[in-house]
Protein backbone atom coordinates (compact mmCIF):
# COMPACT_ATOMS: atom_id res chain seq x y z
CA UNK A 1 0.00 0.00 0.00
CA UNK A 2 1.20 3.50 -0.79
CA UNK A 3 2.07 5.54 2.26
CA UNK A 4 -0.92 7.15 3.90
CA UNK A 5 -0.30 10.63 5.21
CA UNK A 6 -0.40 13.70 3.03
CA UNK A 7 -3.59 15.03 1.54
CA UNK A 8 -3.89 14.21 -2.16
CA UNK A 9 -7.31 15.73 -2.75
CA UNK A 10 -9.28 18.45 -1.06
CA UNK A 11 -12.49 20.29 -1.82
CA UNK A 12 -13.53 23.51 -0.13
CA UNK A 13 -17.14 24.68 -0.06
CA UNK A 14 -17.74 22.80 -3.30
CA UNK A 15 -21.22 23.51 -4.62
CA UNK A 16 -23.22 22.50 -7.68
CA UNK A 17 -26.61 23.84 -8.64
CA UNK A 18 -28.72 22.45 -11.47
CA UNK A 19 -31.20 25.25 -11.96
CA UNK A 20 -33.02 25.47 -8.64
CA UNK A 21 -31.70 22.16 -7.33
CA UNK A 22 -28.63 22.29 -5.14
CA UNK A 23 -27.12 18.86 -5.91
CA UNK A 24 -23.94 19.51 -3.89
CA UNK A 25 -24.00 21.94 -0.99
CA UNK A 26 -20.76 23.47 0.13
CA UNK A 27 -18.86 20.23 0.63
CA UNK A 28 -15.51 20.22 2.44
CA UNK A 29 -13.71 16.98 1.83
CA UNK A 30 -10.21 15.61 2.31
CA UNK A 31 -8.64 12.45 0.98
CA UNK A 32 -5.22 11.18 1.98
CA UNK A 33 -2.75 9.58 -0.35
CA UNK A 34 -3.03 5.81 -0.38
CA UNK A 35 -6.56 5.66 0.95
CA UNK A 36 -9.33 3.52 -0.40
CA UNK A 37 -12.30 5.65 0.46
CA UNK A 38 -15.83 4.45 -0.02
CA UNK A 39 -18.56 6.98 -0.72
CA UNK A 40 -22.04 5.80 0.04
CA UNK A 41 -25.47 7.35 0.21
CA UNK A 42 -28.96 6.89 -1.19
CA UNK A 43 -29.75 7.45 -4.85
CA UNK A 44 -29.76 11.11 -5.75
CA UNK A 45 -27.50 12.01 -2.82
CA UNK A 46 -25.11 13.73 -5.20
CA UNK A 47 -22.26 11.21 -5.27
CA UNK A 48 -21.87 11.17 -9.04
CA UNK A 49 -22.17 14.94 -9.23
CA UNK A 50 -19.50 15.30 -6.56
CA UNK A 51 -16.91 13.09 -8.24
CA UNK A 52 -17.78 14.52 -11.65
CA UNK A 53 -16.58 17.89 -10.42
CA UNK A 54 -13.39 16.30 -9.14
CA UNK A 55 -12.75 14.63 -12.49
CA UNK A 56 -13.63 17.81 -14.37
CA UNK A 57 -16.62 16.44 -16.25
CA UNK A 58 -18.82 19.15 -14.82
CA UNK A 59 -17.95 22.63 -13.53
CA UNK A 60 -18.72 23.56 -9.96
CA UNK A 61 -21.08 26.47 -9.32
CA UNK A 62 -18.72 27.62 -6.58
CA UNK A 63 -15.98 26.34 -4.30
CA UNK A 64 -12.48 25.04 -4.97
CA UNK A 65 -10.74 21.75 -5.68
CA UNK A 66 -7.11 21.03 -4.83
CA UNK A 67 -5.10 18.09 -6.09
CA UNK A 68 -1.65 17.52 -4.60
CA UNK A 69 -1.85 21.04 -3.22
CA UNK A 70 -2.60 22.59 -6.56
CA UNK A 71 -5.83 24.46 -7.34
CA UNK A 72 -7.38 22.56 -10.24
CA UNK A 73 -10.86 24.09 -10.08
CA UNK A 74 -10.55 25.57 -13.56
CA UNK A 75 -8.54 22.77 -15.17
CA UNK A 76 -10.09 20.89 -18.10
CA UNK A 77 -11.13 17.25 -17.70
CA UNK A 78 -8.55 15.95 -20.18
CA UNK A 79 -5.74 17.75 -18.38
CA UNK A 80 -6.86 16.31 -15.07
CA UNK A 81 -6.81 12.83 -16.57
CA UNK A 82 -3.31 13.61 -17.82
CA UNK A 83 -2.15 14.58 -14.34
CA UNK A 84 -3.55 11.44 -12.76
CA UNK A 85 -7.21 11.92 -11.84
CA UNK A 86 -9.05 9.19 -13.69
CA UNK A 87 -12.78 8.54 -13.58
CA UNK A 88 -14.81 5.54 -14.65
CA UNK A 89 -18.42 6.26 -15.44
CA UNK A 90 -21.36 4.89 -13.49
CA UNK A 91 -22.77 3.56 -16.75
CA UNK A 92 -20.23 1.43 -18.61
CA UNK A 93 -18.49 3.66 -21.09
CA UNK A 94 -16.17 2.03 -23.61
CA UNK A 95 -15.58 2.19 -27.36
CA UNK A 96 -18.23 -0.38 -28.19
CA UNK A 97 -17.54 -0.62 -31.91
CA UNK A 98 -13.79 -0.98 -31.57
CA UNK A 99 -11.89 -4.15 -30.72
CA UNK A 100 -10.95 -4.66 -27.08
CA UNK A 101 -7.31 -4.28 -28.09
CA UNK A 102 -7.95 -0.85 -29.64
CA UNK A 103 -9.81 0.27 -26.53
CA UNK A 104 -6.81 -0.45 -24.36
CA UNK A 105 -4.38 0.96 -26.96
CA UNK A 106 -6.11 4.30 -26.75
CA UNK A 107 -5.57 4.52 -23.02
CA UNK A 108 -2.00 3.24 -23.07
CA UNK A 109 -1.11 5.54 -25.95
CA UNK A 110 -2.31 8.55 -24.00
CA UNK A 111 0.00 7.69 -21.14
CA UNK A 112 3.02 6.92 -23.34
CA UNK A 113 2.64 9.92 -25.61
CA UNK A 114 1.45 12.58 -23.20
CA UNK A 115 -1.04 15.17 -24.32
CA UNK A 116 1.02 17.05 -26.89
CA UNK A 117 3.01 16.42 -30.03
CA UNK A 118 4.36 13.16 -28.58
CA UNK A 119 1.38 11.56 -30.25
CA UNK A 120 3.25 11.60 -33.57
CA UNK A 121 5.99 9.30 -32.38
CA UNK A 122 4.51 6.59 -30.27
CA UNK A 123 6.75 3.56 -29.86
CA UNK A 124 4.48 0.85 -31.29
CA UNK A 125 6.51 -1.97 -29.75
CA UNK A 126 6.23 -0.52 -26.29
CA UNK A 127 2.57 0.23 -26.87
CA UNK A 128 1.94 -3.36 -27.84
CA UNK A 129 3.80 -4.71 -24.81
CA UNK A 130 1.86 -2.52 -22.41
CA UNK A 131 -1.50 -3.21 -23.99
CA UNK A 132 -0.76 -6.89 -23.71
CA UNK A 133 0.13 -6.52 -20.04
CA UNK A 134 -3.12 -4.70 -19.29
CA UNK A 135 -5.16 -7.27 -21.19
CA UNK A 136 -3.46 -9.98 -19.18
CA UNK A 137 -4.23 -8.17 -15.97
CA UNK A 138 -7.94 -7.74 -16.69
CA UNK A 139 -8.15 -11.24 -18.12
CA UNK A 140 -9.32 -10.23 -21.59
CA UNK A 141 -6.29 -11.28 -23.59
CA UNK A 142 -8.20 -14.03 -25.38
CA UNK A 143 -10.92 -11.71 -26.59
CA UNK A 144 -8.60 -8.91 -27.69
CA UNK A 145 -9.89 -8.97 -31.24
CA UNK A 146 -13.57 -8.92 -30.35
CA UNK A 147 -15.66 -5.80 -30.56
CA UNK A 148 -15.91 -4.41 -27.04
CA UNK A 149 -19.67 -4.05 -27.27
CA UNK A 150 -20.09 -7.75 -27.92
CA UNK A 151 -18.50 -8.80 -24.63
CA UNK A 152 -20.62 -9.95 -21.69
CA UNK A 153 -21.55 -7.16 -19.31
CA UNK A 154 -19.06 -8.14 -16.63
CA UNK A 155 -16.18 -8.18 -19.10
CA UNK A 156 -17.20 -4.78 -20.39
CA UNK A 157 -16.92 -3.48 -16.83
CA UNK A 158 -13.48 -5.01 -16.47
CA UNK A 159 -12.44 -3.39 -19.73
CA UNK A 160 -13.80 -0.06 -18.53
CA UNK A 161 -11.71 -0.31 -15.37
CA UNK A 162 -8.81 -1.56 -17.49
CA UNK A 163 -8.90 1.65 -19.52
CA UNK A 164 -8.58 3.64 -16.31
CA UNK A 165 -5.83 1.37 -15.08
CA UNK A 166 -3.91 1.76 -18.35
CA UNK A 167 -3.60 5.47 -17.62
CA UNK A 168 -1.76 4.63 -14.41
CA UNK A 169 -3.73 7.14 -12.34
CA UNK A 170 -2.69 8.62 -9.02
CA UNK A 171 -6.32 8.93 -8.00
CA UNK A 172 -8.80 6.46 -9.41
CA UNK A 173 -12.49 7.25 -9.06
CA UNK A 174 -14.82 4.28 -9.54
CA UNK A 175 -18.51 5.10 -9.80
CA UNK A 176 -20.52 2.04 -8.78
CA UNK A 177 -18.29 -0.50 -10.53
CA UNK A 178 -20.25 -3.52 -9.31
CA UNK A 179 -23.65 -2.24 -10.37
CA UNK A 180 -25.54 -4.84 -12.38
CA UNK A 181 -22.87 -7.53 -12.04
CA UNK A 182 -23.37 -11.18 -11.11
CA UNK A 183 -21.82 -12.39 -7.86
CA UNK A 184 -18.78 -14.04 -9.42
CA UNK A 185 -18.22 -10.91 -11.50
CA UNK A 186 -18.38 -8.78 -8.37
CA UNK A 187 -15.64 -10.93 -6.85
CA UNK A 188 -13.54 -10.38 -9.94
CA UNK A 189 -13.98 -6.60 -9.80
CA UNK A 190 -13.22 -6.59 -6.06
CA UNK A 191 -10.04 -8.55 -6.64
CA UNK A 192 -9.04 -5.98 -9.20
CA UNK A 193 -9.82 -3.02 -6.96
CA UNK A 194 -7.78 -4.54 -4.16
CA UNK A 195 -4.88 -5.05 -6.52
CA UNK A 196 -5.16 -1.52 -7.88
CA UNK A 197 -5.18 -0.11 -4.39
CA UNK A 198 -1.68 -1.41 -3.73
CA UNK A 199 -0.31 1.33 -5.93
CA UNK A 200 -2.79 4.16 -5.78
CA UNK A 201 -5.47 6.18 -4.06
CA UNK A 202 -9.03 5.15 -4.80
CA UNK A 203 -12.44 6.72 -4.35
CA UNK A 204 -15.12 4.07 -4.60
CA UNK A 205 -18.77 4.94 -4.91
CA UNK A 206 -20.62 1.78 -4.02
CA UNK A 207 -24.09 0.62 -3.07
CA UNK A 208 -23.18 -2.94 -2.16
CA UNK A 209 -22.38 -2.70 1.57
CA UNK A 210 -20.60 -6.02 1.57
CA UNK A 211 -18.16 -4.70 -0.99
CA UNK A 212 -17.73 -1.46 0.94
CA UNK A 213 -17.08 -3.16 4.28
CA UNK A 214 -14.64 -5.57 2.76
CA UNK A 215 -12.58 -2.98 0.89
CA UNK A 216 -12.70 0.36 2.68
CA UNK A 217 -11.12 1.42 5.94
CA UNK A 218 -12.90 4.75 5.82
CA UNK A 219 -16.35 5.64 4.59
CA UNK A 220 -17.95 8.94 3.64
CA UNK A 221 -21.74 9.08 3.72
CA UNK A 222 -23.58 11.61 1.58
CA UNK A 223 -27.20 12.65 1.60
CA UNK A 224 -29.02 15.52 -0.10
CA UNK A 225 -25.80 17.05 -1.38
CA UNK A 226 -23.88 17.09 1.91
CA UNK A 227 -21.57 14.81 3.86
CA UNK A 228 -23.51 13.58 6.85
CA UNK A 229 -20.92 11.24 8.34
CA UNK A 230 -17.37 10.06 7.89
CA UNK A 231 -15.39 7.40 9.69
CA UNK A 232 -14.46 3.75 10.03
CA UNK A 233 -17.03 1.12 9.06
CA UNK A 234 -17.79 0.55 12.78
CA UNK A 235 -18.32 4.27 13.38
CA UNK A 236 -20.59 4.52 10.36
CA UNK A 237 -22.61 1.49 11.34
CA UNK A 238 -23.14 2.98 14.78
CA UNK A 239 -24.08 6.43 13.53
CA UNK A 240 -27.73 7.26 14.23
CA UNK A 241 -27.90 9.90 11.47
CA UNK A 242 -26.71 7.40 8.91
CA UNK A 243 -29.12 4.76 10.08
CA UNK A 244 -31.94 7.23 9.63
CA UNK A 245 -31.22 8.37 6.09
CA UNK A 246 -29.22 5.57 4.63
CA UNK A 247 -30.39 2.36 6.19
CA UNK A 248 -33.94 3.63 6.18
CA UNK A 249 -34.46 3.07 9.90
Amino acid sequence: MASVGNVILETRALTKRFGGLEAIRSVDFKLERGELRAIIGPNGAGKTTFVSMISGRIRPSSGRIFFEGRDITKMKAHDRAGMGIVYTFQIINIFRNLPVYENVSLAVQRRLAGGGAGIFRVDEEELHREVDAILERIGLRDVAEQEAGSLPYGHQRLLDIGLALALNPKLLILDEPTQGLAINEIDEVMRMIRELHRERTIMLIEHNMQVVLELAKKITVMDKGTIIAEGTPEEIEGNIEVQKVYLGL
Binding site: S55, R57, K76, A77, H78, D79, A81, G82, V86, Y87, F89, N93, I94, F95, R96, N97, L98, P99, Y101, E102, S105, L106, A107, Q109, R110, R111, A113, G115, I119, F120, V122, E124, L127, H128, V131, R141, A144, E145, L163, L167
Partner: protein, 322 residues
Protein backbone atom coordinates in the same frame (compact mmCIF):
# COMPACT_ATOMS: atom_id res chain seq x y z
CA UNK B 1 -2.86 -13.45 -30.21
CA UNK B 2 -3.72 -10.06 -31.52
CA UNK B 3 -1.17 -8.52 -33.85
CA UNK B 4 -1.26 -4.76 -33.88
CA UNK B 5 -0.01 -4.30 -37.42
CA UNK B 6 -2.12 -7.03 -38.86
CA UNK B 7 -3.43 -6.17 -42.28
CA UNK B 8 -0.86 -3.45 -42.90
CA UNK B 9 0.87 -5.45 -45.62
CA UNK B 10 -2.43 -6.26 -47.30
CA UNK B 11 -3.70 -2.70 -46.94
CA UNK B 12 -0.52 -1.23 -48.37
CA UNK B 13 -0.60 -3.70 -51.26
CA UNK B 14 -4.21 -2.82 -51.97
CA UNK B 15 -3.49 0.91 -51.98
CA UNK B 16 -0.44 0.61 -54.18
CA UNK B 17 -2.50 -1.69 -56.38
CA UNK B 18 -5.18 0.99 -56.81
CA UNK B 19 -2.55 3.56 -57.75
CA UNK B 20 -0.87 1.13 -60.15
CA UNK B 21 -4.30 0.35 -61.59
CA UNK B 22 -4.94 4.02 -62.37
CA UNK B 23 -1.45 4.28 -63.88
CA UNK B 24 -2.00 1.32 -66.19
CA UNK B 25 -5.52 2.35 -67.19
CA UNK B 26 -4.19 5.33 -69.12
CA UNK B 27 -2.57 2.97 -71.63
CA UNK B 28 -5.71 0.90 -72.04
CA UNK B 29 -8.78 3.11 -72.05
CA UNK B 30 -9.82 5.39 -74.94
CA UNK B 31 -9.25 9.15 -74.56
CA UNK B 32 -12.80 9.88 -73.43
CA UNK B 33 -12.47 7.59 -70.44
CA UNK B 34 -8.96 8.83 -69.73
CA UNK B 35 -10.42 12.32 -69.41
CA UNK B 36 -13.17 10.97 -67.14
CA UNK B 37 -10.57 9.23 -64.97
CA UNK B 38 -8.52 12.42 -64.74
CA UNK B 39 -11.58 14.18 -63.42
CA UNK B 40 -12.35 11.33 -61.05
CA UNK B 41 -8.82 11.34 -59.60
CA UNK B 42 -8.92 15.08 -58.91
CA UNK B 43 -12.37 14.98 -57.36
CA UNK B 44 -11.64 11.76 -55.45
CA UNK B 45 -8.76 13.67 -53.84
CA UNK B 46 -11.36 16.14 -52.65
CA UNK B 47 -13.52 13.31 -51.29
CA UNK B 48 -10.50 11.78 -49.53
CA UNK B 49 -9.95 15.10 -47.79
CA UNK B 50 -13.61 15.35 -46.87
CA UNK B 51 -13.64 11.79 -45.54
CA UNK B 52 -10.92 12.57 -42.98
CA UNK B 53 -13.42 14.80 -41.22
CA UNK B 54 -16.64 12.90 -41.85
CA UNK B 55 -15.48 9.31 -41.89
CA UNK B 56 -12.61 9.33 -39.43
CA UNK B 57 -13.58 12.07 -37.00
CA UNK B 58 -17.36 11.93 -37.26
CA UNK B 59 -17.91 15.59 -38.14
CA UNK B 60 -20.22 16.50 -41.00
CA UNK B 61 -19.37 19.77 -42.72
CA UNK B 62 -21.48 21.45 -45.35
CA UNK B 63 -18.87 24.05 -46.14
CA UNK B 64 -15.95 22.27 -47.70
CA UNK B 65 -16.43 24.09 -50.98
CA UNK B 66 -14.69 27.01 -49.32
CA UNK B 67 -11.51 24.97 -48.93
CA UNK B 68 -11.73 23.40 -52.36
CA UNK B 69 -12.24 26.88 -53.77
CA UNK B 70 -9.45 28.39 -51.67
CA UNK B 71 -7.05 26.01 -53.38
CA UNK B 72 -8.71 26.58 -56.72
CA UNK B 73 -8.52 30.37 -56.61
CA UNK B 74 -5.13 30.49 -54.93
CA UNK B 75 -3.65 28.38 -57.71
CA UNK B 76 -5.67 29.92 -60.55
CA UNK B 77 -5.27 33.57 -59.60
CA UNK B 78 -1.56 33.24 -58.83
CA UNK B 79 -1.03 31.68 -62.25
CA UNK B 80 -3.05 34.36 -64.04
CA UNK B 81 -2.00 37.50 -62.17
CA UNK B 82 1.46 36.65 -60.90
CA UNK B 83 2.58 34.25 -63.61
CA UNK B 84 3.53 31.58 -61.10
CA UNK B 85 4.53 28.26 -62.65
CA UNK B 86 2.24 25.36 -61.67
CA UNK B 87 4.69 23.81 -59.26
CA UNK B 88 4.91 27.07 -57.32
CA UNK B 89 1.18 27.81 -57.48
CA UNK B 90 0.40 24.38 -56.04
CA UNK B 91 2.34 24.64 -52.74
CA UNK B 92 1.13 28.22 -52.33
CA UNK B 93 -2.45 27.02 -52.70
CA UNK B 94 -1.89 24.17 -50.24
CA UNK B 95 -0.40 26.58 -47.71
CA UNK B 96 -3.30 29.02 -48.03
CA UNK B 97 -5.81 26.17 -47.71
CA UNK B 98 -4.08 25.07 -44.52
CA UNK B 99 -4.28 28.58 -43.06
CA UNK B 100 -7.88 28.97 -44.18
CA UNK B 101 -9.03 25.63 -42.76
CA UNK B 102 -7.16 26.05 -39.47
CA UNK B 103 -8.82 29.45 -39.03
CA UNK B 104 -12.27 28.24 -40.00
CA UNK B 105 -11.87 25.14 -37.83
CA UNK B 106 -10.95 27.25 -34.83
CA UNK B 107 -14.21 29.15 -35.28
CA UNK B 108 -16.68 26.49 -36.38
CA UNK B 109 -15.52 23.76 -33.97
CA UNK B 110 -16.92 25.82 -31.10
CA UNK B 111 -20.25 24.45 -32.27
CA UNK B 112 -21.36 20.88 -32.74
CA UNK B 113 -24.00 18.74 -34.43
CA UNK B 114 -26.46 20.54 -36.63
CA UNK B 115 -25.03 23.93 -35.66
CA UNK B 116 -21.67 22.85 -37.01
CA UNK B 117 -23.39 21.92 -40.25
CA UNK B 118 -25.08 25.30 -40.51
CA UNK B 119 -22.10 27.39 -39.46
CA UNK B 120 -19.75 25.72 -41.94
CA UNK B 121 -22.37 26.20 -44.65
CA UNK B 122 -22.80 29.89 -43.84
CA UNK B 123 -19.08 30.61 -43.94
CA UNK B 124 -18.81 28.77 -47.21
CA UNK B 125 -21.68 30.80 -48.67
CA UNK B 126 -19.92 33.98 -47.60
CA UNK B 127 -16.84 32.76 -49.43
CA UNK B 128 -18.95 31.93 -52.50
CA UNK B 129 -20.57 35.37 -52.52
CA UNK B 130 -17.16 36.96 -52.12
CA UNK B 131 -15.95 35.25 -55.28
CA UNK B 132 -18.99 36.67 -57.07
CA UNK B 133 -18.55 40.13 -55.58
CA UNK B 134 -14.96 40.38 -56.82
CA UNK B 135 -15.89 39.17 -60.28
CA UNK B 136 -13.52 41.75 -61.81
CA UNK B 137 -10.71 39.62 -60.42
CA UNK B 138 -12.20 36.14 -60.20
CA UNK B 139 -14.29 36.18 -63.34
CA UNK B 140 -17.34 35.46 -61.18
CA UNK B 141 -19.80 32.91 -62.39
CA UNK B 142 -18.40 32.79 -65.88
CA UNK B 143 -14.97 32.16 -64.52
CA UNK B 144 -11.54 32.46 -66.07
CA UNK B 145 -9.55 30.16 -68.31
CA UNK B 146 -5.93 29.54 -67.37
CA UNK B 147 -4.74 27.89 -70.56
CA UNK B 148 -2.61 30.67 -71.97
CA UNK B 149 -1.08 31.51 -68.60
CA UNK B 150 0.02 27.99 -67.75
CA UNK B 151 3.77 27.72 -67.90
CA UNK B 152 5.41 24.40 -68.65
CA UNK B 153 6.45 22.18 -65.77
CA UNK B 154 10.20 21.83 -65.83
CA UNK B 155 11.52 18.42 -64.87
CA UNK B 156 15.25 19.01 -65.06
CA UNK B 157 16.30 17.93 -68.53
CA UNK B 158 12.94 18.31 -70.20
CA UNK B 159 9.67 20.02 -69.50
CA UNK B 160 6.04 19.08 -69.93
CA UNK B 161 2.88 21.06 -70.67
CA UNK B 162 -0.20 20.82 -68.47
CA UNK B 163 -2.29 21.30 -71.59
CA UNK B 164 -1.22 17.83 -72.73
CA UNK B 165 -3.84 15.27 -71.70
CA UNK B 166 -1.22 12.67 -70.74
CA UNK B 167 0.41 15.20 -68.44
CA UNK B 168 -2.99 16.12 -66.99
CA UNK B 169 -3.68 12.46 -66.26
CA UNK B 170 -0.40 11.84 -64.49
CA UNK B 171 -0.45 15.13 -62.64
CA UNK B 172 -3.89 14.19 -61.30
CA UNK B 173 -2.59 10.72 -60.46
CA UNK B 174 0.29 12.11 -58.40
CA UNK B 175 -1.99 14.47 -56.46
CA UNK B 176 -4.45 11.65 -55.90
CA UNK B 177 -1.72 9.24 -54.76
CA UNK B 178 -0.40 11.71 -52.21
CA UNK B 179 -3.84 12.13 -50.66
CA UNK B 180 -4.65 8.44 -50.86
CA UNK B 181 -1.44 7.26 -49.19
CA UNK B 182 -1.71 10.04 -46.63
CA UNK B 183 -5.17 8.83 -45.66
CA UNK B 184 -3.86 5.27 -45.30
CA UNK B 185 -1.01 6.46 -43.11
CA UNK B 186 -3.37 8.60 -41.02
CA UNK B 187 -5.86 5.84 -40.31
CA UNK B 188 -3.12 3.61 -38.98
CA UNK B 189 -1.25 6.30 -37.07
CA UNK B 190 -1.63 7.13 -33.37
CA UNK B 191 -3.39 10.35 -34.36
CA UNK B 192 -5.86 8.50 -36.56
CA UNK B 193 -6.55 6.11 -33.70
CA UNK B 194 -7.58 9.06 -31.53
CA UNK B 195 -9.72 10.57 -34.29
CA UNK B 196 -11.60 7.29 -34.62
CA UNK B 197 -12.01 7.22 -30.85
CA UNK B 198 -13.54 10.70 -30.98
CA UNK B 199 -15.89 9.58 -33.74
CA UNK B 200 -16.93 6.55 -31.70
CA UNK B 201 -17.26 8.12 -28.24
CA UNK B 202 -15.90 11.59 -27.65
CA UNK B 203 -16.91 11.65 -24.00
CA UNK B 204 -14.78 8.60 -23.21
CA UNK B 205 -11.90 9.89 -25.31
CA UNK B 206 -11.93 13.09 -23.29
CA UNK B 207 -11.90 11.19 -20.00
CA UNK B 208 -8.91 9.22 -21.28
CA UNK B 209 -7.14 12.55 -21.34
CA UNK B 210 -7.38 13.55 -24.98
CA UNK B 211 -7.98 17.18 -25.81
CA UNK B 212 -10.92 16.64 -28.15
CA UNK B 213 -10.96 20.17 -29.51
CA UNK B 214 -7.31 20.04 -30.54
CA UNK B 215 -7.73 16.74 -32.33
CA UNK B 216 -10.82 17.93 -34.13
CA UNK B 217 -8.98 21.05 -35.20
CA UNK B 218 -6.11 18.95 -36.48
CA UNK B 219 -8.52 16.76 -38.45
CA UNK B 220 -10.37 19.76 -39.78
CA UNK B 221 -7.13 21.34 -40.96
CA UNK B 222 -5.87 18.15 -42.62
CA UNK B 223 -9.24 17.70 -44.27
CA UNK B 224 -9.43 21.29 -45.51
CA UNK B 225 -5.84 21.27 -46.72
CA UNK B 226 -6.31 18.15 -48.83
CA UNK B 227 -9.56 19.60 -50.16
CA UNK B 228 -7.63 22.73 -51.09
CA UNK B 229 -4.94 20.66 -52.78
CA UNK B 230 -7.67 19.04 -54.84
CA UNK B 231 -9.04 22.47 -55.73
CA UNK B 232 -5.60 23.64 -56.83
CA UNK B 233 -5.19 20.53 -58.94
CA UNK B 234 -8.60 21.18 -60.47
CA UNK B 235 -7.56 24.70 -61.51
CA UNK B 236 -4.25 23.53 -62.96
CA UNK B 237 -5.51 20.40 -64.70
CA UNK B 238 -8.74 21.75 -66.15
CA UNK B 239 -7.30 25.27 -66.59
CA UNK B 240 -10.46 26.84 -65.27
CA UNK B 241 -11.64 28.66 -62.17
CA UNK B 242 -15.23 29.78 -61.53
CA UNK B 243 -17.68 30.52 -58.73
CA UNK B 244 -19.77 27.42 -59.38
CA UNK B 245 -16.88 25.46 -57.87
CA UNK B 246 -17.32 27.42 -54.64
CA UNK B 247 -21.09 26.94 -54.48
CA UNK B 248 -23.05 24.81 -52.04
CA UNK B 249 -23.24 22.05 -54.63
CA UNK B 250 -19.51 21.61 -54.24
CA UNK B 251 -19.98 21.21 -50.51
CA UNK B 252 -22.66 18.59 -51.01
CA UNK B 253 -20.71 16.68 -53.66
CA UNK B 254 -17.90 15.32 -51.48
CA UNK B 255 -20.47 14.40 -48.83
CA UNK B 256 -22.41 12.44 -51.42
CA UNK B 257 -19.35 10.75 -52.91
CA UNK B 258 -18.06 9.78 -49.48
CA UNK B 259 -21.39 8.41 -48.27
CA UNK B 260 -21.94 6.49 -51.47
CA UNK B 261 -18.53 4.85 -51.41
CA UNK B 262 -18.40 4.39 -47.66
CA UNK B 263 -17.41 6.96 -45.05
CA UNK B 264 -14.60 5.86 -42.78
CA UNK B 265 -12.91 3.69 -45.38
CA UNK B 266 -9.93 4.88 -47.40
CA UNK B 267 -11.17 3.35 -50.67
CA UNK B 268 -14.80 4.42 -50.29
CA UNK B 269 -14.45 8.03 -51.43
CA UNK B 270 -12.77 6.90 -54.65
CA UNK B 271 -15.44 4.35 -55.50
CA UNK B 272 -18.15 6.86 -54.64
CA UNK B 273 -16.63 9.64 -56.71
CA UNK B 274 -15.99 7.39 -59.69
CA UNK B 275 -19.45 5.89 -59.64
CA UNK B 276 -21.23 9.21 -59.21
CA UNK B 277 -19.31 10.89 -61.99
CA UNK B 278 -20.14 8.07 -64.37
CA UNK B 279 -23.79 8.06 -63.27
CA UNK B 280 -24.02 11.79 -63.88
CA UNK B 281 -22.46 11.28 -67.27
CA UNK B 282 -24.97 8.56 -68.20
CA UNK B 283 -27.92 10.61 -67.11
CA UNK B 284 -26.20 13.30 -69.20
CA UNK B 285 -25.42 16.86 -68.60
CA UNK B 286 -28.66 18.74 -67.98
CA UNK B 287 -28.17 20.67 -64.75
CA UNK B 288 -31.66 20.20 -63.35
CA UNK B 289 -31.56 16.46 -63.86
CA UNK B 290 -28.16 16.46 -62.21
CA UNK B 291 -29.65 17.84 -59.03
CA UNK B 292 -32.42 15.28 -59.10
CA UNK B 293 -29.90 12.46 -59.42
CA UNK B 294 -27.92 13.89 -56.51
CA UNK B 295 -31.03 14.25 -54.41
CA UNK B 296 -32.32 10.76 -55.07
CA UNK B 297 -28.93 9.17 -54.47
CA UNK B 298 -28.58 10.98 -51.15
CA UNK B 299 -32.03 9.93 -50.02
CA UNK B 300 -31.54 6.31 -50.98
CA UNK B 301 -28.21 6.27 -49.21
CA UNK B 302 -29.41 7.68 -45.97
CA UNK B 303 -32.53 5.55 -45.89
CA UNK B 304 -31.39 2.24 -47.28
CA UNK B 305 -27.64 1.98 -47.34
CA UNK B 306 -25.90 3.89 -44.56
CA UNK B 307 -22.50 2.16 -44.64
CA UNK B 308 -21.94 2.86 -48.34
CA UNK B 309 -20.45 0.41 -50.82
CA UNK B 310 -17.01 -0.17 -49.34
CA UNK B 311 -18.45 0.13 -45.84
CA UNK B 312 -20.75 -2.81 -46.55
CA UNK B 313 -17.92 -4.83 -48.07
CA UNK B 314 -15.78 -4.13 -45.04
CA UNK B 315 -18.48 -5.25 -42.63
CA UNK B 316 -19.41 -8.36 -44.47
CA UNK B 317 -16.23 -9.64 -46.04
CA UNK B 318 -12.98 -7.77 -45.64
CA UNK B 319 -12.62 -6.60 -42.06
CA UNK B 320 -9.02 -5.46 -42.40
CA UNK B 321 -9.91 -2.71 -44.88
CA UNK B 322 -8.63 0.54 -43.40
Amino acid sequence: MYVANKGLGKALALHIGVIAGFFILQFIVPPFHAAMLTRIMVLATYAIGYNILLGYTGLMSLGHAMFFATGLYAAGLSVIYYGLPPLEALPLAILLSAVMSATMGAITLRTSGVFFLIVTMIFSQVFFLTTLYFNMITGGEEGLVLTRYLKPISLGLFSVELTDSVVKYNFALIIFSIAFLFSLWLTRSPVGRVLIAIRENDERAEMLGYNIYKYKLLAFTMSGTISGMAGAAYALVFAYIGSALASILYSINPLLWTLLGGAGTTIGPIIGTGLMIYIIDFTSGITSSYLIVVGITLMLLVLAFPPGIVGAIKRRWIRWLP
